[in-house]
Symmetry: C2
């Protein structure tokens, strides 16, 4: 019993996008059986071009191509070398745009921001794990989605596969939130754990790179930009603040932290890059990202090397913490499936 045919256009077929393409292919049957949804990938776009097939692309085959270092536009019969994301949004009949291009705040979040804008304006639901557009243009995009009667969802922007954002936005409605503390970045936790175990900075970052958790631009993670971007998104969505990256007092992690990390570990504390939003005297919230030593009793004080988490201090719902252990990028990619089901399975 198919209630709905859902046609997806995917822009960005990297770490998350290709895993998502594979996932919806592998899960096609349970999605039909359980949710009555026939999910078809009708277009996929990367830097080299696009692959388009209104009857449905094979996401697994596209992922194989990407893993072999090629563009999806090399797919036989369906490839469109040189076609851009914006062109695909115009050319492809789809219901949902999944925007999974890399975050790039240096270019004003482009090309992602233009994709999200164009998708919403064309009446597509938009799902994105790309922090850039949300950090830079949250209110405009929410307004645009409302005007076009479509959904904008971005669960994957904060703390990987953890529904950190939606717990805060949905489940804490009606409460005052006094403080949010989050460990939203996996890479820095991984590096800090290595440092605290005695590794040198070079060894620790090399291990992170070997593990695939350190991006091409290490400063994005290590200098705390990623954590700050996630804190801004939490502040926008959960606290309703007009937060911007410039409002975050930001300190990253660096080579001179080894002795500190080792000392804290010996004392039974866990070192993490902590993102904090807390009420300040006179009203409003102070936003900061800084390395902190967390005691074992802290709700985030026992995170594993591939874990992330968030804690909400509220007036009427007590103190609520949520954590995720995420051994691979699959949970982060799967947030696009979660968002898809949140739109269609109501």
């Amino acid at each position: 019993m198919i209630h709905r045919d859902v046609r997806i256009l995917l822009i960005g077929v990297g770490n998350l996008g290709r895993r998502f393409a594979r996932l919806i292919r592998e899960r096609a049957r349970p999605l039909e059986d359980r949710y009555g949804m026939r999910v078809r990938l009708v277009g996929a776009v990367d830097r080299g071009g696009a692959a388009i097939d209104p009857t449905g692309l094979d996401g697994g085959r596209l992922a194989d191509l990407k893993e072999a270092g090629r563009s999806v536009s090399a797919a036989t019969g369906v490839g469109r070398p040189g076609m851009t994301g914006l062109e695909a949004i115009d050319a492809v009949d789809a219901d949902v745009l999944c925007e999974a291009s890399p975050v790039n705040l240096a270019t004003g979040a482009e090309p992602g921001l233009s994709h999200v804008r164009a998708g919403l304006s064309r009446g597509l639901h938009v799902i994105t794990p790309n922090k850039g557009p949300i950090v830079l243009a949250y209110r405009e995009l929410v307004e645009r989605a409302r005007a076009h009667h479509v959904a904008l969802r971005f669960d994957g922007t904060v703390a990987g596969g953890l529904p950190a954002l939606w717990i805060g936005e949905r489940d804490l409605r009606g409460a005052e939130i006094d403080r949010i503390e989050a460990v939203p970045n996996l890479t820095t936790g991984f590096v800090l754990d290595r440092l605290s175990e005695g590794a040198s900075w070079d060894e620790a970052t090399a291990a992170a790179r070997a593990e695939g958790v350190l991006e091409a631009d290490p400063a994005w993670d290590l200098d705390g930009w990623d954590a700050a971007a996630k804190l801004v998104i939490l502040s926008l969505c959960v606290l309703g603040l007009d937060a911007r990256l410039e409002n975050v007092a930001r300190r990253g992690i660096g080579p001179r932290m080894g002795a500190w990390a080792r000392r804290e570990r010996r004392a039974g504390r866990s070192v993490r890059l902590l993102a904090t939003a807390e009420r300040v005297e006179g009203g409003g919230y102070g936003l900061s990202v800084a390395p902190k030593a967390l005691p074992a009793e802290h709700p985030l004080g026992r995170l594993g090397p591939k874990s992330m988490g968030v804690v909400y201090w509220t007036d009427i719902y007590g103190t609520i913490a949520a954590t995720i252990d995420e051994p691979s990028p699959v949970p982060s990619a799967a947030t696009m499936l979660r968002d898809l089901l949140a739109i269609y399975d109501r």
Copy 2:
């Protein structure tokens, strides 16, 4: 800007009900400002009778009456001594029934089950933190709600103010869940912590009673019935099982556990009454409730004496844990507000 007038009939004005009555009174203004909802308590019923006022009762005043040991039906001008819940459901024009009467599985979950049935059939949305009706008649009630186009929500039935159920139901859609582990009962954790610190059984249970966390019928908590009921609800809603209380292999806590609890604490482990649903060979899940010693690395291994939590082991969303520290019953009562907003603020 009021978009909606929401009239509430509350049945059961005990620990949770009276706190909820106070809460919606105190939060009237922010509910209007933020969500455009004017929430009015138009009826309240306890064992002594009802209080009814279509223009809105003062929830704070009713809570004061209850705290002075009196019935809401003693409220001047609005009291209806002797009126029952079912009579009130017929007599009061309301939009939402909040059923917060005490759980009582010995009587087939009555009177709560009849209230929930009658409310749904009368076209009211029903919100209940009462486990009884859900454990005994989940499918029937879901079907009845669907037939009458109303919502049935019961976030408060599992792990107090923690949105354990809705995280499992909403945020894990699309995943296979291999295992659920939960510490859904606060009382047993409190008693076990005292035992592990060296208190005798009598001292530990007396402390729990003095703290207000041990109910009139201690067996409900201590013998694991409460945890088993919550595990059944998780199994019904999150795993889609046809689970019943009889399916749970249940062991509670008792006077002979002191030495074990002290030994485990010395070894750095935390003792808790753990509810587990896990896949068994040949398909299906095994359900159990039993005292367990949890190592510090376990996601529930560092819970405080007034904390609860749940862990989901999934295939595509990693391992997700959520915990709550709940120093008073307010978070459990506030789940009714969360459910209310989930119905009206979509």
